[in-house]
């Protein structure tokens, strides 16, 4: 796989994260990380929300995998 996609998917598995933090934690640029998010969203239910990033704390667009509570 696209190992980056797997890393990103695990990053957002349990907490909403902004694109900047996703890119930083997966050692990608923002431009590189965005297509991976789109690919994840094709197969798995992805939540895109306006909220606080659980990593940097900034209010931004955050991404997470939709989990059943």
């Amino acid at each position: 796989l696209p190992e980056h996609a797997a890393v990103i998917a695990v990053l957002i598995l349990e907490r909403p994260m902004c694109l900047e933090c996703i890119a930083s934690k997966s050692s990608l640029s923002i431009a590189e990380a965005e297509p991976y998010l789109q690919r994840i969203g094709l197969g798995l239910e992805l939540l895109v929300d306006e909220g606080r990033c659980r990593t940097c704390g900034e209010p931004r667009t955050v991404f997470s995998l939709n989990r059943l509570s």
């Binding site: 996609a5 239910e45 059943l68």
Partner: protein
């Protein structure tokens, strides 16, 4: 004396120096050994469904979909076989001794997931295998009968794992 603190675990060792160095005055020595917590001990395990000991076959002509699903199912402990075509999936029927469930896309060229299901149900040894359909064209296939579960793509990961566990358990109990 071993203790836990906010910084990590530490050990206090107390002793009498005069026993080690005869002739010296009796002196109580306290040694404070701080052990930083190991990374493994502090890392919270991911809250993933348990699919260990299951062998699952993922069938999808979309590389991203099959890669992503396979990666997640493996993260849950499953042994995952990947098939980019239904024909490859049929090949696994002959070569894989153990198969617990099939997760298949429906809209695929050459052979649809519905056709694959018919082949499974007609198979002498695999006819009762749980087959889960995943499709982005839910309305087009809403009338498709015979699948053990029918999930919309993009799929909710927990919903998929829950369906797998439920169907495998049901098959074992019958």
């Amino acid at each position: 004396v071993a203790r836990q603190s906010r910084l990590g675990s530490y050990t206090l060792i107390a002793g009498n120096l005069s026993q080690i160095f005869p002739g010296t005055h009796s002196l109580l020595c306290l040694l404070y050994v701080l052990t930083m917590p190991s990374r493994a001990a502090t890392t919270k395990p991911l809250n993933l469904p348990d699919l260990s000991r299951l062998t699952l076959l993922v069938v999808d002509d979309n590389n991203d979909s099959v890669d992503m699903l396979a990666a997640f199912l493996r993260a849950c402990g499953a042994n995952v076989l990947e098939a980019r075509t239904p024909f490859r999936a049929l090949g696994y029927f002959q070569t894989t001794p153990r198969l617990d469930a099939i997760i298949t896309d429906l809209a695929m060229p050459e052979m649809t997931g519905v056709d694959l299901l018919k082949r499974v149900r007609a198979h002498p040894r695999r006819s009762r295998l749980p087959v889960i359909a995943l499709t982005g064209y839910y309305e087009d296939y809403a009338q498709a009968d015979g699948f053990d579960a029918f999930l919309r793509k993009p799929v909710n990961f927990d919903e998929l794992c829950s369906a797998i566990n439920r169907l495998v358990r049901r098959r074992k109990s019958t």
